[in-house]
Amino acid sequence: MKTKHLNLAVVASAALLAATFAGQAQAQAAGTFTVRLGATTVMPDVTSGDLSAPTLPHTRIDVDKASQVSGGITYMWTDNIAVDLPLGIPFKHKIVGAGAAEGAGELGTVKSLPITLALQYRLGEASAKVRPYVGLGGVYAHFGDSKGTATLNALAGGLPSNPVSMKMDNKAGALVQLGVFAQVWGKWSVDFSVNKIFLKTTGHLSTGQTIDTKLDPTAVQVGVGYTF
C-alpha cells in the first residue's frame, strides 16, 4: 500500500519536472476535453460512532485506505472554468474493529464508488504549461458488495448457518480539491490532485444494529491525460 502511494508521488513529481522543460503545446482552452487515466488512493479519516445494542459498550469501526485505477474527463467550459468528472472502478476497503473491538482485526470489506462531479477554477492562461486549480464538487458515495468476516459473525452473535451480513448506506457528500495540471508533451499532460471529501454514512448489520460513521476521506489522484 505504502509503496503504491510513493510511486504515485514519484510519477507526479517527474511529470511536473518534465512539464517545465516541455515545449509550446496544445492549450487547455475553452471547449476542449482532456481524458486521463491513472490511479487514486482513498484514505478515510474515520470518526466512528458506537455500534448500537446489543454489543460491548463503545464498539467502533475503522476503515482502511484503498487504491484503485482511476481516470476522468475534464471539459473546459471557459479558458479557466472546468467541469471534471472522475471515472473509476470501485475501491475495496477493509473495515476493522476499533474502540472496544480494537485489535479484533478485519470485520469485513466494502466496495465504494464515489461518483463525483467537480467545478474547477484553473489558474493561468489557457496556454500555460502548468496550471494549478481549485475545485468544489458533489459526491454520491455508492457502497456495495459488502462482505462480513467470521470475526464479524462471531462478534455479532451470528452462526455460520445464519451469518450476520452488513451494508452501508449510499450517501451524498461534498468535495474540495487542490490540483495541478501540467502539459508534458504535445497533447499529453499529467494531472495531480488532493481531494477532501466530507461524507457521513450509516452501517447496518442484519441483526438490526447500526453504526454512524464519518468517513471524511482524503483522495489523492494522479493521471496521465490527453487533450482533444
Binding site: T55, I89, A150, A154, G158, K167
Partner: protein, 372 residues
C-alpha cells in the same frame, strides 16, 4: 469534423467504463467468510456452563437453538460439540458411546473435589476431565476451552453463610474444614472470613492453573481459552440469599457480605489472569466484569430482564429454602415470556441469549489473539 467524432467516441467509451464500474459496484451484502485460523477440533472442560448434555439436557432453556457459549465458539470453526461423558447417576459417568464427542464438561464440575461425593474419582472434578483429555496430545489446530471455580465459590459462600445463619461448632468445623482442604493458611485464618476466603480462592486458582499446565499446555495445546468466574453474587439465587441476610441483619451487612464474596471471586480471577499473563498460548476471558456490566447496563446488551429466572420453579422449595428448578421442564413454552432476551434461565445459569453474549465476548478475545 473528424476530431469531434473521435472526442465524442472517447467520452462515450469512458462513460461506459464508468457505468460498468457502477453496476459492478451494485448488489447487497453477502455472508461471512471462513475464519483465517484453522481450528479442526475444540475440547471443552468445566462445569454446567460448558456442559453440552452429560445429563441429557443443557443447563439452560431447552430450546432447539440453545447453544452454550463453548458450542457457539466451536461452530465459528465449523465444529459441533457433544458431551464426552454420559451420566449414569448423579455422580457416576461413562464415556458417551457416540464417537467424536469432545466436550468433557459436566454440570456440577468443581476444582476442589472435597465438596462432591467420591472425591478421588468423581469426574465432576475438572482435573479428572482434564487428565482424561490429556490421554490424547493436543495438536496445533486444536482449541481448548475451560471454565471452573463457580461451584467451588458457591460452596465456599455456602459454608460461610452457615456459620452466620446457624452459628455453632458444627457449621464452624465445616467452614474451617473446607478452607483446610485447599490451604492450611486459609484454615488458620478462618476467623477472618475476608482474608481466609481470599487465601482459599487464590490457592484454588493456583491448583487449577497447575493442573491446566500439566494436562493441557504441557500436552501441546496452543489455543487455550479460560473463562473466569462470573460474579455469581448477581445471580437470582445469590440475590435471594443476600436479600434474606438484608432482611435479617440490615442492608449494610448485605452489601458488606456481597463485597466480601466478590473479593473472593476476584482473588481467583486475578490469580488465574496473573498465572496466564506471560503465556501467549492462553487467553483468559473476563466473564466476571462483562457479566456485571450486563446486569448493571442491560440495555447495552438488549437484555430485558437481568433479575428473574425464566424457568418455572419446582413446586416445593429446596432444603435451603430456596426455589429449585428442573431444566428438562424448562421448555420455551414453560419459560416466562421474554426469556429470549432475559439473562437467567434458572436462578444460577444463563439463558441461551446469556450464552450468546458470553460467546461474543470470548470471540472478541479470540479475534484479538489472532485466533479467528
Amino acid at each position: 469534423m473528424k476530431r469531434i467524432k473521435t472526442t465524442k467516441f472517447a467520452v462515450a467509451a469512458l462513460c461506459l467504463a464508468g457505468l460498468a464500474a457502477l453496476s459492478a459496484c451494485g448488489g447487497g451484502s453477502s455472508g461471512e467468510t471462513a475464519p483465517s485460523t484453522k481450528i479442526s477440533s475444540v475440547r471443552v472442560f468445566g462445569d454446567s456452563l460448558a456442559d453440552s448434555g452429560t445429563f441429557g439436557f443443557k443447563f439452560t432453556v431447552q430450546s432447539t437453538d440453545n447453544y452454550i457459549f463453548a458450542e457457539r465458539i466451536a461452530l465459528t470453526y465449523g465444529q459441533t460439540l457433544c458431551n464426552y461423558y454420559t451420566a449414569t447417576g448423579a455422580d457416576t459417568f461413562v464415556p458417551n458411546p457416540k464417537p467424536g464427542c469432545t466436550n468433557y464438561a459436566i454440570g456440577g464440575g468443581v476444582i476442589n473435589t472435597a465438596t462432591v461425593a467420591n472425591p478421588t474419582t468423581n469426574l465432576k472434578g475438572i482435573q479428572f476431565q482434564l487428565a482424561a483429555g490429556a490421554a490424547t496430545a493436543y495438536s496445533a489446530n486444536e482449541m481448548v476451552m475451560i471454565d471452573g471455580g463457580g461451584n467451588d465459590a458457591a460452596a465456599l459462600v455456602g459454608a460461610f453463610l452457615q456459620t452466620q445463619l446457624s452459628p455453632g461448632a458444627a457449621s464452624n468445623a465445616q467452614w474451617v474444614g473446607l478452607l483446610g482442604t485447599m490451604s492450611s493458611a486459609a484454615a488458620a485464618a478462618a476467623a477472618d472470613p475476608v482474608n481466609s476466603g481470599v487465601l482459599y480462592m487464590t490457592a484454588l486458582a493456583d491448583q487449577f492453573y497447575s493442573t491446566i499446565t500439566a494436562t493441557v499446555l504441557n500436552k501441546g495445546a496452543t489455543h487455550v481459552v479460560i473463562a473466569n468466574i462470573p460474579d455469581i453474587t448477581l445471580t437470582p439465587r445469590f440475590q435471594m440469599v443476600l436479600a434474606g441476610i438484608g432482611a435479617a441483619k440490615g442492608a449494610a451487612t448485605q452489601q458488606q457480605l456481597q463485597a466480601v464474596f466478590q473479593g473472593w471471586l476476584s482473588a481467583f480471577n486475578k490469580e488465574i489472569a496473573a498465572k496466564a499473563s506471560a503465556d501467549s498460548r492462553v487467553l483468559v476471558v473476563d466473564i466476571y466484569s462483562n457479566f456485571q456490566d450486563e446486569v448493571n447496563n442491560p440495555a447495552q446488551y438488549s437484555l430485558t430482564n437481568v433479575k428473574d429466572p425464566s424457568c418455572p420453579a419446582d413446586a416445593t422449595l429446596g432444603a435451603d429454602n430456596l426455589p429449585t428448578y428442573t431444566f428438562p421442564k424448562c421448555t420455551p413454552a414453560a419459560a416466562s415470556p421474554g426469556w429470549q432476551t432475559a439473562l437467567f434461565s434458572d436462578s444460577f445459569h444463563p439463558t441461551p441469549y446469556g450464552h450468546q453474549l458470553a460467546a461474543r465476548l470470548i470471540a472478541l478475545g479470540i479475534a484479538q489473539k489472532g485466533w479467528l
